[in-house]
């Protein structure tokens, strides 16, 4: 865990004081609303439908018990007792008052946290693989790189007023658990010819109105060159990215319109100019960062208590992934209780998660982009005890990777930009398939729901994607199929005309029964089946001829 040094602490406090002053100037009118808006966004503060919303950064998704308890405290003291974990591995509070926000930011600074650059047209909070440090397949822990990028991008004077938001993710394995290729810049740690670690760089990914898969711009970048290389990309983007149209202002459009080869040339030219002026990263700082992510003091293997209940066994099978050590497991705690709001946690649940991390799991927690909480280092012998405590708090849902483990953005229940609701659709789908008892029969399935074209719910990369729209004043849901957010990223294909709020759950049910009908055997997953048979059987299931419909009814 990275702990703030004096510089970090003073910096974050300085920013809190600055924001306190900005709020005062907004209230006395010396800052206009137009001027205050981007300033508050850069401090994580939105105005939603019913209230302000404060988005707090959880850099590369990493938390410890102290931080998690402080989030619980904030939820109780200044909000309504719960928070919402997002697909950017941040947490949002939905009910803060403007006048309280500086105090909330101070409370965050008390535990080495902040809300800086969680919104606005700047470099956003850097994300990483949520299994970092625990996965067997990683080359090294991606978080030192992510922390270096957090520091480099924080209050970067040149890139604080970009044409649009800018998201960076870092992973260190072949297998992509962080949707790398939907980021403006994706950094993947790879090994070079002499086995030395370096970076493969992707650029121009993004979901939203024009979804694009990021393209490789550099197959290998020496580690020491990361900052000048990223500055080169950002500088080309800042100067040449479009500013005439909000929907064409992301770097993906520049890369697309310029062509990746020409764009690479521009970046490399800039990079060759910058490199001689760059004297390298301060080694003392770098070593301190690297030293902050050493593995915990793992215990020696000890006997595992017998697994007695079927519930425990099912939870272990579904929610516990392999750790780099055999006698450890990576536990994903589902924030997708059947009928609950995906990604929401109450303050009591946050405190329980903090307790479990502290008592059993080397005091580490992660937020995953799939809106769940991960305990990355759990000795397997503790699994029964953890399960019992989770169960008592309603957090033992055994559904990771299954049809009820749905990503859903806040949608029109909170978000001012929404065109339809997402949350109740997710709730109803989870409830329906739970009632049918089909979750395990269906197997691995990723449903992702966004409440507008901005695609915060990653619907384009869902095996089944659902996009909520407003069609002549009525909620309408468009389905995409075959999306994939892993190393083989694919943007899903639109199935056809949308469905009303009342029709969307039955439509999903028809897709699933078509899958169960056409799969070769239970081992063939939905996405494998879709790749084999294509859209046709699903289209037929979704849009049966009029007659078949009325007969079925």
């Amino acid at each position: 865990m990275y702990m703030y040094d004096d510089f970090d602490a003073a910096f974050v406090r300085g920013r809190v004081a600055e924001f306190r002053d900005q709020v005062a100037r907004r209230l006395d009118g010396t800052l206009s609303e137009a001027e205050f808006l981007p300033i508050r966004l850069k401090n994580g503060l939105y105005l939603q439908l019913h209230a302000y919303m404060l988005r707090i950064a959880v850099p590369y998704g990493t938390l410890d018990s102290r931080k998690m308890r402080q989030l619980a405290y904030i939820a109780d003291r200044w909000d309504k007792g719960y928070g919402h974990f997002t697909t950017r591995t941040n947490i949002q509070f939905n009910w803060p008052k403007l006048k309280d926000v500086p105090d909330i930011l101070d409370a965050l600074a008390d535990v080495d946290m902040h809300a800086i650059q969680t919104s606005g047209n700047c470099i956003r909070n850097v994300t990483a693989d949520h299994f970092a440090g625990a996965a067997a397949d990683e080359i090294e822990d991606p978080r030192p790189t992510a922390e270096l990028l957090r520091q480099w991008s924080t209050d970067h004077p040149e890139f604080a007023w970009l044409g649009r938001k800018f998201k960076i993710a870092v992973i260190a394995s072949e297998h992509d658990r962080a949707v790398l290729k939907s980021h403006d810049i994706g950094v993947r740690i790879v090994r070079g010819v002499a086995d030395e670690p370096g970076y493969e760089i992707f650029v121009g990914g993004g979901l939203g109105r024009t979804p694009m898969v990021a393209k490789q711009i550099r197959s290998f970048l020496p580690k020491a060159h990361l900052l000048p290389y990223l500055e080169s990309i950002l500088q080309v983007y800042n100067l040449q990215g479009r500013r005439d149209n909000k929907y064409k202002a992301r770097i993906k459009i520049l890369v697309h319109e310029t062509g990746i080869d020409r764009f690479r040339e521009l970046v490399e030219t800039r990079f060759q100019e910058k490199l001689p002026q760059f004297n390298g990263v301060n080694q003392k700082i770098l070593r301190r960062i690297e030293g902050s992510f050493v593995p915990p003091a793992f215990e020696a293997a000890q006997p595992m208590p017998p697994v007695l209940g079927a519930g425990l066994q099912s939870w272990i099978d579904t929610n516990v992934a392999a750790h780099r050590l055999d006698h450890y497991g990576i536990v994903t705690v589902s924030l997708k209780g059947i009928g609950e709001t995906p990604g929401d946690a109450s303050s009591d649940q946050m405190r329980l998660l903090a307790d479990l991390a502290e008592e059993y799991a080397h005091d580490e927690l992660r937020v995953s982009h799939e809106q769940n909480i991960v305990l990355p280092h759990v000795p397997r012998r503790h699994l029964p005890a953890i399960y019992d405590r989770l169960k008592a708090a309603g957090l033992a849902t055994a559904n990771i990777g299954l049809i009820s483990d749905i990503i859903a953005c806040p949608g029109m229940d909170y978000c001012a930009l929404a065109t339809a609701r997402s949350i109740p659709v997710a709730q109803q789908i989870a409830e329906r398939f739970h009632e049918l008892g089909l979750e395990h029969e269906i197997g691995p399935m990723k449903i992702k729901i966004s409440g507008c074209i901005n695609a915060c719910g990653h619907h384009h990369v869902g095996h089944i994607g659902i996009l909520g729209l407003d069609r002549a004043g009525v909620e309408n849901y468009q389905i995409t199929l075959g999306g994939d957010g892993t190393e083989t990223t694919v943007i899903g294909e639109r199935a056809g005309p949308g469905f009303s709020y009342d029709e969307i759950v039955p439509a999903i049910e028809r897709i699933v029964s078509a899958y169960l009908d056409v799969r070769t055997d239970p081992e063939e997953t939905f996405i494998e089946c879709f790749r084999r048979v294509g859209m046709t059987p699903f289209k037929e299931a979704l849009y049966p001829p009029e007659e078949a419909r009325s007969n079925a009814a």
Binding site: T30, P157, L227, F278
Partner: protein, 139 residues
């Protein structure tokens, strides 16, 4: 009168009675007076184009059409990277909260738009002594 803000406070514009030439003055055959020259730099032009003339220029005024249009910050950084050592001014409706970034990327001063100057007194235009993350991580 234009208000000029630097890291040291507010002053008037000491270039006010001299001309500021358009970016294209070097190419359009225009007769240019004695040096040093002041040049207006639109934020969508290429900084490298000015390189042959940099030592004839005493002031580059980079235009900010809106405070939220941050291209000027990269223009300044680039001019400095290309070796320009003369005065560099940001001009437009920047707000006081942007002064720190402006100075960091290489601007010497900000010419504040009257619409902003009317609301933001001198006391708002302060930088603080804070070191930046970029200063600390790069040697």
């Amino acid at each position: 009168m234009t208000t000029i803000v630097t890291g040291n406070g507010i002053s008037g514009d000491d270039w006010a009675d001299r001309d500021v030439f358009a970016f294209d003055c070097f190419w359009n055959g225009q007769e240019l007076p004695e040096e040093p020259l002041a040049v207006a730099f639109p934020n969508d032009r290429e900084a490298a184009d000015l390189v042959p003339w940099l030592d004839r220029i005493g002031l580059i005024v980079v235009d900010f059409p809106a405070f939220s249009d941050g291209r000027g910050f990269s223009v300044a950084r680039r001019l400095r990277e290309l070796g320009y050592r003369g005065r560099l001014r940001a001009s437009g409706p920047l707000v006081s909260d942007q002064l720190r970034a402006a100075l960091k990327v290489g601007f010497d001063e900000v010419a504040v738009a009257p619409s902003v100057a009317a609301r933001q007194p001198a006391s708002h235009w302060k930088v603080g002594a804070q070191e930046s993350y970029q200063d600390r991580i790069a040697v």
